[in-house]
Symmetry: D2
Subunit: 297 residues, 4 copies
């Protein structure tokens, strides 16, 4: 009457061996360690990606790059194009904006900070890869397997965001696609999941802190956490960032904006420079409490 | 301290006017009615799409096409390529199989039944569109906006599956992309959502029957239901198909296979011809009870 | 590293034998059939419980009893006390209102219809049991095991609502408590579950239609559905009630009020007499389409 | 067509004023500070409750009390009776075991540590209150309002666990019941929620770390976290306990057992003394990183 033997929502030992052999740990201690642009992942330092949701202007991104770099961020984040849930928006968000990449490139040079930015479509991979040190694959593209293959063929380091409806099994399956097709330096990123209660009508997701130890139990890949997209609410970002560090996250992604309340996209979640400054110190202190660090000094 | 005015998970009147004006109803009675291959959608008849998950052989798909056509199915379904959650599988599922389209085409001709089949990648749209009367966009591609634009440019009728983590608002946003970029005949399809309890370890989704009246309250687009993927469990498919008809679904998609237990993909959910036969009669009876019909006779 | 063998969210064959032997089916066809106040459960007729959320006045409940009886309802429902989520409310809802029971009793006599009503506390069981033909245990009390024992000791027929966060396994565990402690006539009732998306900010639950076949696969107990509490939105109640009948529900519970928009509790979900009248006919037609019936004539 | 103005899942400013005035913060800085048995809540120290799920023997609980006290725990936890999901279990868990209270009392005296223990039924409140410094109300009783009233009338300090399907609004509504009926010292406790993905088949819940800042944003009550029941998996307990401290939790509850794999109840989640020892030091270090502490020294 009931047959629960068929593979389902959860990862089995057989899955590890046959479905995700490249993503699966070989031993309990197995952990990927690699460098991107001189920043080590999977080691003692917990790299921080900081910057605005969207590159709005040269001034905005250069100012932010310098500000976050000075406060210890390891990577500048910022979107050069931004697909939203609906087709209507200003022309500037509709396609890859070449000037967005140009501004990111300038910010990278002026601040001396590497860049992580999302690539949305296969046809833009080479253009984005010229500026980006890490290509970000967004949650909505997590299951776009042909796109994952193209991204993997670029041989660039990749950060793969978890779709907000995806199981750990789905997510590691997508990671396996990237690894199978050529990605050698791969970071996973939890960014909030759908859940019955998210505590604010405008907050669509719940940070799944439990997936950090759950993922690290089965995969050697570094696991990043993005508390900004998870919570969608500025006051919750610092405590959730700290909780992610304490849970063992291998990297943190944060939305930081010179004037958060004027941000073009998602103005409720970005934090300002002063909040970022205090948070970096706190994250460093928490990281040191669990045997790691955020700041080099 | 709390600001719940920002747009969130649920659709507002403002969303209807500014975010999804093409998908939104103009009046309470507004309902799209259109024909595809001589089959009317949005009218009294509730069209049924039936066939296997995957086209496995010419014999399998031709036999199925004839069998479901004889029992009153309006469209043959069957996948010519099938991306799964992991990269490892036999070569036959890895890429579009031209012979899959050839077999579908033959089945269509021999059984005299139109075809709905999924297209997975932009580069295959024209090839698939030659055989398919309706292009199916799968759940995993629901938020692949560049792909939606390409699909829309084909001007073919489209069925857009809801991603299993997507809100109604997300789903209608994706529909708006298609409508905005040229799709004129668009069907939505609910196929199960992630939920805390799905009642079997192997069943990953829960049929969201509530989304049928909820969607029909705000959009004029026909709403189909796929109980096979929702339940992932053969014994639940007939009661859920009947419930969808009773709830007002505008079309039903079913996995039907000559030998379900030997199906190459998802063998737990397909039903056999005899079950399909009985179910068609029941669905027709339920449809008539709510003022519609499934069978023409 | 991973051990999935420990009992978890889903029901196993071992659970059926050792955890819920009384609730479990003995054979695939095993189904409880019993009578309460001359109404048969588990048979061809699908009984309908109809009435207001709360007994507001003698006039209201007598009028409703006569109205729903005339339209074919098998039981009058109506709450004589009503605990809400917060402690503040008018004095009339705070405790069991003896006059509520008196009014119910009068309505029962005048309309010639049996009564189902919720009992909230052990100390009121005997008073409620004098009027009620079926004792309803609310979702919030589903896991109040000492209370379940007391209810069972009354030997009255019981309807056990599923808690909105409970798995099927939790729910059947609660049913087993009742059966183990003396309940002989037991009905289960699905009334909506928490879920990531419920489609309206004010609608807290999603009707879990899938639990109907899932429960009927493992238990012989009749399974009722309450679309009013599940949807919390009047326009969705008729399609969801019809879907429940089509899915095989063994009884239907509906909130019906003479003037729904003036209902003291939950004014968004009750339907009026005219809607109830049309719905009864539709439910009967759908029931007949699946080999059952709602109306006697 | 759509009316989102009706109160729903999320807390509104109006709710704070009229539904939960006692639980609501009066100012942004408002935070309850109180002492129980000489342990301050809501202050710099983050109290830790540690001990087994169930009091199994005098030796077990006395040994555990001494062991956790020595390592800095502030309260001993341990259940003197334990309702499970099914009615079948050994006689020893079936009712309040007076000897369980006797053993707890002895452990309290011998180890010099106050006690928190669950009370399951109104009739046992006075017996449990003689031993317990804090009465724990379990998740399953969160919405058992008559019971909450009885608990409140005891005037004892209370810890109220969140039901795994409850919204923050539901939870604070239950807290308001306690406050309204006389509880003066009240602690909330998050212990995991139902969610689409929990990462192991045997793990039924997901730790909702986001509810910590969300609750603290609206209520002055201290918010505890129980990572043992949330994760149901020993290896995840330490990282989740640390994440809770970092997120700002005001207390931590942990299952600790002399021989976890031999625990009578929930053997997969308890940690042993050595793990507890290391975790206490780590929690203290993380607490200090966020301006608090766990250990006194």
């Amino acid at each position: 009457m009931i047959d629960n033997t068929f593979p389902g929502k959860d990862i089995t030992l057989d899955d590890l061996a046959t479905k995700i052999p490249l993503a699966a740990k070989k031993t309990a201690e197995h952990k990927s360690v690699f460098e991107v642009a001189g920043v080590k992942f999977g080691g003692d330092v917990v790299p921080v990606f900081a910057g605005p949701n969207t590159v709005e202007s040269e001034a905005q991104i250069v100012e932010t790059a310098i500000a976050v770099r000075r406060r210890g961020a390891h990577f500048l984040r910022g979107g050069a194009f931004k697909p939203l849930t609906f087709p209507y928006r200003g022309p500037k968000y509709f396609e890859l904006r070449e000037e967005g990449l140009t501004y990111l490139s300038k910010a990278k040079r002026e601040a001396g900070i590497p860049v992580i930015t999302e690539v949305m479509e296969a046809k833009y991979i080479s253009a984005v890869a010229e500026v980006a040190d890490i290509l970000q694959v967004g949650a909505r593209n997590m299951q776009n397997y042909p796109f994952l293959e193209e991204v993997a063929r670029s041989r660039k380091p990749v950060m793969l965001k978890r779709h907000y409806g995806a199981s750990l099994r789905d997510w590691l399956g997508a990671a396996e696609y990237l690894l199978y097709h050529g990605t050698e330096k791969l970071i996973l990123c939890e960014r909030g999941v759908v859940a019955p209660h998210t505590h604010r009508a405008a907050s669509r997701f719940l940070l799944d802190i439990q997936v950090v130890p759950a993922a690290q139990e089965v995969t050697h890949l570094p696991v990043a956490v993005d508390p900004s997209h998870a919570s969608f609410w500025r006051p919750w970002v610092p405590p959730l960032a700290l909780s992610a560090i304490a849970a063992g996250a291998d990297a943190i992604m944060l939305e930081v904006h010179p004037k958060p309340e004027e941000a073009a996209v998602d103005p409720l979640q970005a934090i300002d420079f002063a909040t970022f400054d205090a948070l970096m110190r706190r994250m460093d202190a928490v990281a040191r409490a669990v045997g790691r660090r955020v700041l080099d000094s």
